[in-house]
Amino acid sequence: MRHRWFWVAGIASAFGALALLPVAAAGAQGGGQPVCADCHEEAVRSIAPTKHGAKLDATTDLCRSCHGDVAAHLEDPTAAKPAHLFDRGMTAAEKSAVCLSCHEGNRQLAFWDSGKHKKNDVACADCHSIHGKRGDPSTQPYLTTQRKLQYDTCGQCHKTIRAQLNKTSHHPIIEGKVACADCHNPHGALSPAMVKNESVNQLCTNCHADKRGPVVWAHLPVEENCLSCHNSHGSNVPKLLTVKVPQLCQDCHGSGHGQLAYGSSFGIGGANQDRATRFDARSCVNCHQMIHGSNAPASRGQFLLR
């Protein structure tokens, strides 16, 4: 409780300082509004508070920097349209080229040419709303956040992923605690799936550093690829596993009790659904808890038990 008061006091102090600062008038930043606002008031108003809006002034320079030559349009708005309307008449490459005319040298976009999005005709404006348009209605469960969450944008195209995020076991992406860009670089990367690290395992252990090892006794699929067992976006199975245990384990383990059906007497001659430690609860992991590797001595570690 004490730390809540700490926050309240801190933020109150901060906002007290704000009272000394100038508040922007509704509408444009300093320098007045361009003539475009006479007809496109909402478009001008919405861009004003953005970083682009910092360049907004009474000239039409800002508007023209994206929409191109508007001279004819200004003379007769009904007869001529601006050069770049960002509609279906422009290809994705043409739309992106407008943005890249300023941002091409940006290091975040250095690998745009190498990425999947460019190849698949994704334009900058497909994800970035320059005029801050209202987003699509939400369909998500209640959250206390007021932030616009990134997955809403990515999920418009990546529908398989959107479905996975809604499954019972998922990373806290729809809760706003993990963002798509925490793992992927949407502007292009040299790694498969445009992940931010060199490999999937190196990516996952950024957060799950307890799984980094190295350990005395390793579980080989863990060392090679986390995605052999987990679906990072979501699953119907706890722990984001791709298949329920023991079936998942049986996909590799064909000897000992790993190969057997489930039951009190290894499934031969007995029911395969008796209450049994090899099936109930978390099945194989009830005992082989150290499934990501162990440092325990001898066979306790070798069989990932301690």
Binding site: P137, G176, G213, Q259, L305
Partner: protein, 723 residues
């Protein structure tokens, strides 16, 4: 509030107080917009046994809600500050600012709780600590200790980047990700699963501190960057002691004959440096390169004993090890090279190569010294053996195997646009993996072929078709027997993937889309284990309505997957097949969502979000011909991870004045679970076979997944002041 939290909080507030006037002073036209939101929520969870799933990632307790944002804009400087849920377990703070082209900075703190269950139980004293003792058997859960199974995660960090309006830049990032709480670990009693197991709440006290530097050059001509990362993982809880009831009920102050030891994650350190570069070349092409080298180390003092033997002997066996300390060291070397070009109008080419080499330079550890002649516990050799170490006639030893591999990937992608309305693209990709110390396969080659057609001939329609074929072949180290299971990630596989997509936008206010996937995989060369899997997916979605009017969004997701496997048992002496069982696993997922934004009046916006989803799992068993003995009782599994979720959220936002608005809302969630692995739930499970004393006759569960279903009604009221 811990020390780190105080530091971050103080730093944030100081930054805020000083950054604003500094930015204002530097930028005469610097102006601000922002808002402050204050309110509360009341949560009713009547009839809910366990709130763990409901609060898995959200702080859904009744209380005060708050949020604020501040946007500062000037012709040369900017500042964005946002915070929410102050003082709550999911508090979020983010401050970003800088001067366009000259420098930028950021400071953030993001908290989250990961709840598993609010009603966990244990017969052990000391849940969540490193010493957990119990007197077993303990068959009455109502007398057990109750605790929350949960941990808190914090991500705090800061960055500063300086470029001084030049193509050159330097950047530094510092951060800490910390975990504090407990999580579930389970351990076999005795030495194996025949004696049951115990769920224990083990302490989670992790912190990962990251420090990185990057410097480089970036312009329209090319990009170059050199970066270094130092990441230290520390766990303040590494060795767990607990009562292994099979061996006795001794306490830590006694002879410790029944006290077992488990090894939690050890400290480690990652050092990585990387080089990134890209240069623009003729033919509208660019050549990109990345080289990365990393080293992960972890030094562990090895345990030298373990509990083995019979329950009555309750012996502690001791081992000699070849080294008292395990020096874990894994090196990664990776490089990637990509050439992207548009040599002539309408043609896109991308050629790429990627290589990842993982070298395991960890200590080779040899455990020896078993004194039980009849129980090898999986180790090789015999007691007193004089043959070569590592053979069946040598001394009995357990030796680790430093797994390493190299993955080489190369491929080509070509896209041809015969006109503005069509794009035909194809690709070839090959991945070859060479492994050391893999039990099944030392080499795997995977080839992928893909072809896609995309058409935008109609102004309102985008259609696409894609087909992909994947072939995987491995070099297996042993001859296949009827019961051989090759690990499915290396097993020979043939997979076809088909995808069709349609986007239809007849007007500016109507957007419809549909996608269909079909994936079929066959593992024909696998004698046992997974033999096939299929997957069907359908996704439909629509957004209807104008930006400034009633706007509706809806979706339907349907998924179904089936996985086939064979389980084959052979007599280890004669080789005769005892039984064959066919296993068919089915997994279904259905989801529907509907949401709308409705400006009911000029000052009133009504929004609604509703979603429903359901998953169902099942397994069918069938005895197959060709076996000498068939299982007599094969019961199909139903309710295998079934769950449902209904979520509703209806709210109205009324603009009282130009600067004040009020939001009132009501949310409802109904989540149910039905899983045969937990149903009917029992805290105490009987053993497979009675092989030990009374205390070994049971498994002791925590209650996680006992009843994660919940119903929650949430009312909330928020007032927002905008300035």
């Amino acid at each position: 509030m811990d020390t780190m939290e105080r530091k971050i909080s103080a730093a944030l507030i100081v930054c805020l107080l000083f950054a604003l006037p500094a930015a204002f002073a530097a930028d005469g036209d610097f102006t601000f917009t922002g808002s402050v939101t204050l309110g509360g929520q009341a949560v009713d969870t009547k009839d809910t046994v366990d709130e763990g799933k409901m609060r898995e990632y959200r702080d859904l307790t009744s209380g005060v809600l708050s949020a604020f944002d501040l946007t500062g804009r000037g012709t040369s400087h900017y500042l964005d500050l946002y915070g929410e849920n102050l003082g709550r377990k999911d508090m979020f703070l983010d401050l970003r600012g800088g001067s366009y082209g000259a420098f930028k900075y950021a400071l953030w703190s993001d908290s989250m709780q990961h709840f598993f269950t609010t009603d966990a139980r244990t017969p052990y004293a000391g849940a969540g600590t490193l010493n957990q003792t119990a007197v077993l058997p303990s068959l009455d859960p109502s007398r057990w200790n109750v605790y929350d199974l949960a941990y808190k995660r914090r991500n705090d960090g800061a960055l500063f980047e300086l470029s001084l309006s030049s193509p050159f830049y330097v950047r530094a990032d510092v951060g800490e990700i910390s975990f504090d709480g407990n999580k579930l670990q389970a351990y076999a009693q005795g030495t194996g699963s025949s004696n049951g197991f115990v769920d224990l709440a083990v302490p989670v006290d992790y912190s990962t501190r990251n420090l990185s530097f990057e410097t480089g050059y970036s312009s329209t001509k090319g990009h170059f960057a050199l970066s270094y990362l130092d990441s230290k993982f520390e766990n303040d809880a590494e060795i767990l002691h607990w009562t292994n009831g099979y061996f006795g009920n001794d306490t830590l102050t006694g002879a410790n004959l029944g006290i077992d030891t488990s090894y939690l994650p050890s400290d480690n350190q990652l050092k990585r440096w990387s080089l990134n570069g890209l240069v623009k070349l003729p033919l509208h092409s660019s050549l990109a390169l990345r080289y990365t080298q990393s080293e992960t180390t972890s030094d562990v003092t090895l345990g030298t004993s373990q509990l083995i033997g019979s329950a009555t002997a309750r012996s502690t066996d001791r081992f000699l090890t070849s080294s008292a300390v395990f020096n874990g060291k894994v090196d990664y070397d990776t490089w990637a090279l990509t050439w992207s070009a548009m040599p002539v109008e309408g043609f896109d080419v991308r050629l790429y190569a990627y290589d990842l080499k993982r070298e395991n330079k960890s200590t080779d550890v040899l455990f020896s010294g078993f004194n039980t002649a009849t129980n090898s516990l999986g180790c090789i050799g015999v007691v007193g053996g004089t043959g070569p170490v590592g053979t069946s006639t040598g001394p009995r030893v357990c030796e680790n195997e430093p797994f390493g591999f190299e993955r080489r990937n190369y491929g080509a992608e070509l896209a041809w646009r015969p006109g503005r309305t069509n794009r035909i693209s194809g690709g070839y990709d090959q991945v070859k993996t060479d492994r050391e110390f893999h039990p099944d396969s030392d080499a795997t080659k995977e080839r992928r072929y893909s072809l896609e057609w995309r058409n935008t001939a109609l102004e309102t329609l985008v259609a696409s078709l894609k087909v992909q074929r994947i072939e995987r072949r491995s070099n297996f180290l042993a001859v296949a027997l009827p019961n051989t299971v090759w690990s499915f990630d290396t097993a020979n596989m043939d997979r076809m993937v088909y995808k069709a997509g349609l986007d239809f936008t007849p007007t500016a206010t109507v957007d419809l889309s549909a996608e269909y996937y079909f994936k079929k995989s066959k593992y024909d060369d696998s004698p046992s284990g997974r033999t096939a899997d299929d997957r069907n997916e359908i996704y439909l979605s629509s957004v209807l309505g104008p930006q400034d009017g009633f706007r509706l969004k809806a979706y339907v997701d349907l998924e179904k997957s089936t996985t086939d496997a064979r389980l084959v048992s052979r007599n280890s002496t004669t080789g005769a097949v005892n039984y064959k069982v066919f296993t068919g696993i089915e997994d279904k997922f259905e989801a529907f969502g509907l949401g709308f934004d409705w400006p009911a009046q000029e000052r009133l916006l009504v929004t609604c979000a509703a979603s429903w989803n359901r998953s169902k799992g099942a397994v069918d068993f069938n005895g197959l011909a060709g076996a000498t003995v068939l299982p007599t009782t094969l019961i199909n599994i139903r309710d295998y991870g079934n769950n449902k979720r209904l979520a509703l959220n209806l709210k109205g936002t009324y603009q009282v004045t130009g600067s004040w608005d009020v939001t009132a809302g009501l949310a409802y969630e109904d989540v149910s679970f039905d899983d045969i692995q937990f149903d009917p739930y029992s805290y105490v499970l009987p053993p497979i076979t009675l092989v030990g004393p009374a205390q070994a006759t049971a498994s002791y569960l925590s209650g996680w997944y006992r009843d994660p279903a919940y119903k929650a009604t949430i009312g909330y009221l928020l007032a927002k002041h905008t300035f």
